[in-house]
Symmetry: C2
Subunit: 420 residues, 2 copies
């Protein structure tokens, strides 16, 4: 009975993939569970008071517009604010370059809709953000995966995959999800030049760019693209579409992201967005604008950096203290995640099960690979933004116990003296 | 330069259609313009005070959840409230039958994604809601159109189109958009039986069902489907997917709609929704729940009915008073729209231009047909919910002048005595 509709009406089954993480989040609601699984911001840093003031102001002064239908492209003062904010990172965008989306996830969906015909190849990092895979899968994407290392995408391995003619490249240069790695400046230049050489557009996904805890800000690909190629016509023919979001700086519950692209692309994406949801909530856009304006967002981001840097450091320290020497991990300069590498031969799903028994959760690495990959089975993604420092320390202690139990278990029994 | 990306990267151009109405809305922002073009609620009826209280309550008591990521299926208390509210219309739904969407438009997009493979036929009313056409076009839908009359879809013409094997039927039984007509009870029974006979699912879109200004509530198709077919297993194998929204009863700026369907379908749509936008804004869901709860929504809908009934009556009276006898129109029992039929041979686009010159706007009928149709060129859709009674009267006076100028203009010159 449960598949009555699917079989009766020949419904789509291919390309529908559920995010392992979102399913996981249900388990992690269990009391006593310490979860490093989701990519959830710390609720302690939500600027609740400021939201209250913003709601009050919007509803007393602008209710007739804020509760009404709005423009598909988004609330103009918000688009304008975003364009101005990005100028500080060297991204020269005007209002007409900005489309407000219902979270960054919708940006990925609209890009999939615009670019991908069934069977088209998409070049992705291995590992990469699994929400992007989920968005692109629906349109029948095939994948070309290029590995990353501590300095991000391996640009030395990029030329052959580019020759295979992918429809676009999807990259997360800053504090990558899941690995926490950052694309080095040298590789950024190489990437942009290669994209231009082969005429392959870059989708630059940058949800965490502002959350840098150490080191210098590196130029976005969208900026290098224009500079390197000496394009003086601003944003009209660049190779790069840039995505970002308020989910990590204000609140994910708003579902507010944005796309920066040439006006031609914004126009097409806006038409697709009309058919997808008419427009993003005017109310949340008005509220976000009132919350973020007058320099509040900048001040608030400083607070978030401080809180998350501490949590990252607590996690790194706990990993050092509790984890066995066979295990390694990345040292992210920002963002929300770090990436743990286990010795070969372990069963990540079995470790995951043991971890849940210990009331600690993470996301097994295999979820982040476009294709089945043995490589994925050696990794765990750990989030350090959501749990408190105390929980992080305790969670890593529990997780180390789960890992260690499997390290011992895999020690070949034959090596034990028979008499033991 | 402006199509540089499209040609360089072979972007999708087929299936991207912009809503004529949404483009129109930009023109109608002009000062002095009286617009009957959009389907906008009256801002005067937005329950602003109640929204203020709801925001305050949500932010002081539940901010950590209301601003955080949430479940793809939606906020459970809101889904539960929707299920309970619908029970009063005989729709037996439980929480697991309800998926919250980012407006009803997203429901149409997700249904298109799930059902339509390029070239699949979709059976639609002629005329029909153009946002549905826009959503389905992207997936490569072809259309079979069945005309409507004052009693809604012509079920006597339905059998042959059903034999052609459409993937589903899309119907608006109550106060149809654009025509304002309501499907009679007899035809509802016929429709449900025919759908069952040919095994064709029905998408029942009901954004206006609660806004009835006269006559008796008629049973939804989803209820007749279960009753007529004596299905005792509740909602598990019905032929009907039911859609509705808070856009016309609370506020469209929230972008909150819902789908009622068997759990199997809800599960698949939720997976597609994950890839599309993760979930609908938790904040707007929490706020809508607090606004609607404790019987407020019912009371508020009564107020809306009163305001819109008056506006409908003012429009009907003004049409009677100002319009020439060759022109006819529907008498909607509810909803937001009425549908004007002009004599044959007039150029609706020319009338539209004249109307804009007179500072009054409507939507030309041809937008609402799946295929190019001469029929569409005889119609205007008029919205009566957004303008005030005074504006409605003045707008219809202006519009009648525009129409009359074309009636005269089409009088063949040859009939004039040469000496005049």
């Amino acid at each position: 009975m449960s598949t009555a509709w699917t079989s009766r009406y020949a419904l789509r089954t291919k390309g529908i993939t559920s995010s392992a993480i979102r399913e996981l989040l249900k388990i992690t609601q269990r009391p006593g569970m310490i979860s490093f699984a989701g990519g959830l911001p710390a609720p302690e840093v939500f600027p609740v008071q400021r939201f209250e003031e913003a709601c009050h102001k919007v509803l007393t002064q602008q209710a007739a517009s804020a509760l009404q239908y709005g423009a598909t492209e988004g609330y103009e003062p918000l688009r304008d604010m975003i364009a101005n904010n990005m100028a500080r990172y060297g991204i020269k965008a005007k209002v007409e370059n900005v489309l407000i989306t219902s979270g960054s996830q919708q940006a990925l969906d609209l890009i999939g809709k615009l670019f991908i015909n069934a069977g088209d190849r998409v070049l992705v990092e291995a590992p990469t953000y699994l929400g992007a895979l989920q968005a692109f899968n629906v349109y029948g994407a095939e994948y070309v995966s290029v590995p990353i290392d501590e300095n991000g995408l391996r640009t030395d391995l990029l030329e052959e995959p580019l020759r295979s003619g992918p429809k676009f490249m999807y990259v997360l240069p800053n504090f990558q999800n899941p690995a926490g790695t950052t694309l080095s400046e040298g590789r950024r230049h190489e990437l942009v030049l290669l994209a231009d050489k082969y005429g392959i557009p870059i989708i630059e996904d940058d949800p965490y760019g502002q959350l840098r805890y150490e080191g210098e800000h590196l130029p976005p690909l969208v900026v290098l693209d224009r500079e390197n190629l000496r394009r003086d016509d601003g944003y009209s023919i660049g190779n790069v579409i840039y995505l970002s979001t308020f989910s990590k700086t204000l609140a994910p519950g708003l579902r507010l992201g944005w796309i920066v692209a040439p006006p031609e692309i914004i126009g097409k994406l806006a038409q697709l967005k009309q058919g997808a949801d008419l427009h993003t909530s005017t109310f949340t856009q008005f509220v976000a604008y009132e919350v973020a304006r007058d320099g509040f967002l900048d001040k608030h981001v400083k607070l978030i950096r401080q809180v998350y840097r501490e949590r990252r450091d607590v996690m790194l320290q706990a990993l050092e203290e509790f984890f066995p020497p066979e295990v390694t991990w990345t040292h992210p300069q920002g963002g929300l995640f770090l990436w743990v590498t286990l010795p070969e031969g372990l069963d990540i799903q079995a470790i995951f099960k043991s971890a849940l028994e210990q009331n600690v959760a993470f996301v097994p690495g295999d979820s982040f690979y476009a294709k089945d990959s043995r490589e994925g089975c050696r990794h765990m993604r750990l989030n350090f933004s959501n749990a408190t420092p105390q929980q992080i320390r305790e969670g890593i202690r529990r997780l180390s116990a789960a890992v260690k139990s499997h390290l011992t278990a895999t020690t070949p029994r034959a090596e034990l003296p028979l008499e033991v």
